[in-house]
């Protein structure tokens, strides 16, 4: 069934990504990592729907946040990031998905690995950990093109400052000023230094473009992590054809 959500707030994360805060009075609740279908309908009845990861932690206020990256030739994302205004209504269906989820009952070490906008379901896990008062050890390895492409920048900085979540950034194109490392993709060395070792039996959540997820999950299995503990979510827009 489709539910109606009202836009409460809009916030730009980067030049091409915007967070939508929605109020959904009959939202049934969700678990961190799940997604939601968003449907737009034109005056003549034509409609288009896409699936977006939920960024917000479960909350009693029936609020839902999604962060949408604008795809240059997208059909729905340009509307959501450029035309939508506060007070507009959207149709939503969900929550969806029961695999790429983190539940507060989980106490094992958690390793999050994000490529670009793959951070969205992972920030929901970080927020869910905080709101549930969990003390599960969390680490985040966040690969982005450049510093300006980082989502949730202030929030992640606060997490680092407080020492709640250990965060490692990997920049693939441009590094910040005075950064000690060159721009590079995630490699075995970085995996060894920035993620929990296999002796701790962590659970991995990897989300990003296909080639990113293939690379990261491959490096993890080669370094001795069980494939059963690696959960992945890959997204378009492309199949990253080789």
């Amino acid at each position: 069934m489709w539910r109606v959500g009202t836009v409460l707030a809009l916030r730009d994360e980067t030049a091409s990504a915007r967070t939508l805060t929605l109020e959904v009075p009959d939202w049934p609740g969700h678990v961190a990592g799940q997604h939601v279908d968003v449907r737009l309908t034109a005056p003549d009845g034509y409609s288009a729907a896409r699936s977006y990861s939920i960024a917000s932690a479960p909350n009693p206020e029936k609020r839902l946040e999604i962060t949408v990256e604008r795809l240059p030739d997208g059909e729905v994302s340009p509307y959501l990031t450029q035309q939508l205004i506060v007070g507009d209504q959207l149709e939503l269906r969900g929550p969806i998905g029961g695999w790429f989820v983190w539940r507060p009952e989980q106490t094992e070490p958690i390793q999050l690995i994000a490529g670009g906008s793959g951070i969205v379901p992972l920030i929901a896990m970080i927020r869910s950990r905080a709101s549930a008062g969990s003390s599960a050890p969390f680490r985040l390895l966040y690969s982005v093109r450049e510093p300006a492409a980082v989502f949730y920048r202030e929030e992640l900085r606060t997490l680092t400052d407080r020492g709640t979540v250990r965060i490692t950034y990997a920049y693939t194109r441009n590094v910040p000023k005075d950064w000690p490392l060159p721009a590079r993709r995630i490699n075995a060395n970085l995996i060894a230094n920035a993620t929990w070792p296999s002796t701790l039996s962590p659970t991995f959540y990897i989300c990003g473009p296909t080639s990113f997820v293939e690379n990261a999950s491959g490096l993890l299995t080669v370094s001795g992590h069980s494939a059963q503990r690696i959960r992945t979510e890959r997204f378009g827009p492309t199949g990253d054809r080789r």
């Binding site: 293939e214 494939a227 199949g239 054809r241």
Partner: protein, 199 residues
């Protein structure tokens, strides 16, 4: 009554393209997998049909590739809403693989390297509706798309077309596979938009 999205016009499919409800056309080939891509060497590959108690048929890569193959072109529909039209494949028809299997079971649990499972009624695997495919667009199937071989049941949502297949277990009753136990529909007919469980 749908909410009208102020100022939204959308991008419609070309005239004459018939899509299942809620789908859009892509020319890419997105990848969706729940975990890492397994590496399956051909000299260790096998495909086994069993009934939970005993093995009914078994192939290694060579005996599998000795089976007659078919080339076919079909549309595929992913539950995440993309459809890809006119994809061409080469594979072995499940009709050929099930030909001398004697069983009263009506369902199959398809099993993959890496642990993935999906349930499909046996009648959906027969009568030229399903294949074990090993080539896509004339190329050997890439691991991230399910190589060396994947199931192809294109009349159902694409999660039923299990990547890295290693066999199937015949069952008297329907049981949920991996995604079917994780929020997705037990059958998954795109034309009836059977996306999620409880629909």
């Amino acid at each position: 009554m749908a909410i009208i999205s102020r100022g939204f016009s959308g991008r419609r499919s070309a005239e004459g393209v018939k899509l299942p409800p809620g789908q859009y056309v892509t020319t890419d080939f997105p990848v969706l997998s729940a975990g890492p891509t397994p590496n399956v060497p051909l000299d260790q590959w096998e495909f086994v049909i069993d009934n939970g108690a005993s093995v009914l048929k078994r192939w290694n890569w060579k005996s599998f590739r000795d089976l007659p193959t078919e080339r076919f072109t079909t549309d595929i529909h992913c539950v995440t809403r993309w459809s890809k039209l006119g994809t061409s494949w080469e594979g072995v028809s499940l009709d050929a693989m099930l030909a001398d299997v004697k069983s009263d079971d009506r369902y199959a649990m398809v099993r993959s390297y890496g642990g993935y499972t999906t349930n499909v009624p046996l009648e959906d695997l027969k009568n030229h509706q399903a294949w074990v495919a090993f080539r896509f667009e004339s190329q050997d199937l890439e691991p991230e798309h399910g190589g060396p071989a994947r199931l192809l049941v294109p009349h159902l949502y694409f999660w039923k077309s299990a990547k890295w297949v290693r066999g199937m277990t015949l069952m008297p009753r329907d049981e949920p596979g991996f995604w079917e136990a994780n929020g997705y529909h037990i059958y998954g007919d795109p034309w009836r938009e059977q996306r999620y469980s409880g629909e």
